[in-house]
Symmetry: C2
Subunit: 210 residues, 2 copies
């Protein structure tokens, strides 16, 4: 009987989506603070750095030619144009992290989630965060920005457009209690690490035991 | 704007399988002790009650005619014959529990798991528990029963036959540390409760918010 082979944990891609005001940024920050092996995905962009932004931390700043090369060499998990600037998710840093057993967090809307899902397959876990009620979402949007009625109305319409896509996600969290919502995402991470496809070497492990 | 409808949690069917000696019974007991809303599935059987066994607790004791009626009326989730006695899982108590938001625990082998999966569909969550190594499984089987070499050899062969089916399960736990394995199953339960199909009324909830 040879020695039992070791299992190597493969990381996962945690995609969090929600309408603004549902608490996604707070939950993301709490996860990055509390999870030992989790990084935030860093996008590449063709737009100019703003004061204080650091290359490789806030974004990978690239020119249009390099961006186009990365797209045509299939080095982007997904990419999109927003107001004349280009944004994309480089595949290589994500692949490296997953292989080392690190999880990668993505804060994207339903369109980004759908594109990542097409490239990432079973590496991706999609979580959609909902506000606890219409009234509460409205209240949060007012509180946040002291916005005018018109701006809040526009944001509520955008929120509705985003929430329509809840059914495309693996898990739905209704963010009524922030601590409980964070505990739910952490449980999802802990559970998903027990998926057979995230335990590299499992077939060999079982074979060696039989 | 009408009041936001309430979500009603639907329970799940947690199917635990493992070779004997992997720690399934200990984990099952710990779950039943610690989870607020979890019951063990009770099988129906045609065999005679043994001293101390209570009808409706250990088994539902039924005669052959009643058993056959339950099967032909599709009141069994799964059933099988073992040494001339018949065993089956009545569907009704499980359905009632799930509807009230209670989880139901099943301690079955891969054949039972496969049959339950065919009837239960998305209500079922399958978890397979593996021992940490061949040597450790052998040691546990020796320790447990002070069995002879021949008996342990036979049990090891049975274990191998069971372990071959690991890939049919949603989650795989390698039971190296009992507390960690229990924490992993509890995380699976907590995560799976956030699945959209276990949150009754979610479409109406979202519609009311948009």
């Amino acid at each position: 009987m040879s020695e039992t082979p070791k299992i190597k944990q493969r990381g996962l891609m945690l995609v969090l989506s929600s309408p603004s005001g549902a608490g996604k940024s707070t939950i993301s920050k709490a996860l990055l603070d509390s999870e030992n092996k989790m990084i935030m995905s860093v996008s590449a962009t063709t737009r100019e750095p703003r004061p204080g932004e650091v290359d490789g931390v806030d974004y990978f700043f690239v020119d249009k030619a390099e961006f186009d090369r990365m797209v045509s060499d299939k080095e982007m998990l997904e990419h999109a144009e927003v107001f004349g600037n280009f944004y994309g998710t480089p595949r290589l840093p994500v692949d490296n992290a997953l292989r080392k057993g690190w999880d990668v967090l993505f804060d994207v809307d339903w369109q980004g989630a759908r594109k990542i899902s097409n490239s990432a397959g079973k590496d991706m876990v999609g979580v959609f965060i909902l506000p606890p009620s219409h009234e509460e979402l409205e209240r949060r949007l007012y509180d946040r920005a002291q916005d005018s009625d018109d701006v809040v109305k526009k944001r509520m319409a955008e929120a509705a457009g985003e929430m329509e896509h809840w059914a495309e996600y693996d898990y739905i969290i209704i963010n009524d209690d922030l601590d409980e919502s964070i505990a739910q995402v952490r449980a999802i991470l802990k559970a998903e690490r027990q998926r057979p496809n995230r335990q590299d070497g499992l077939p060999e492990f079982v074979t060696a035991m039989c």
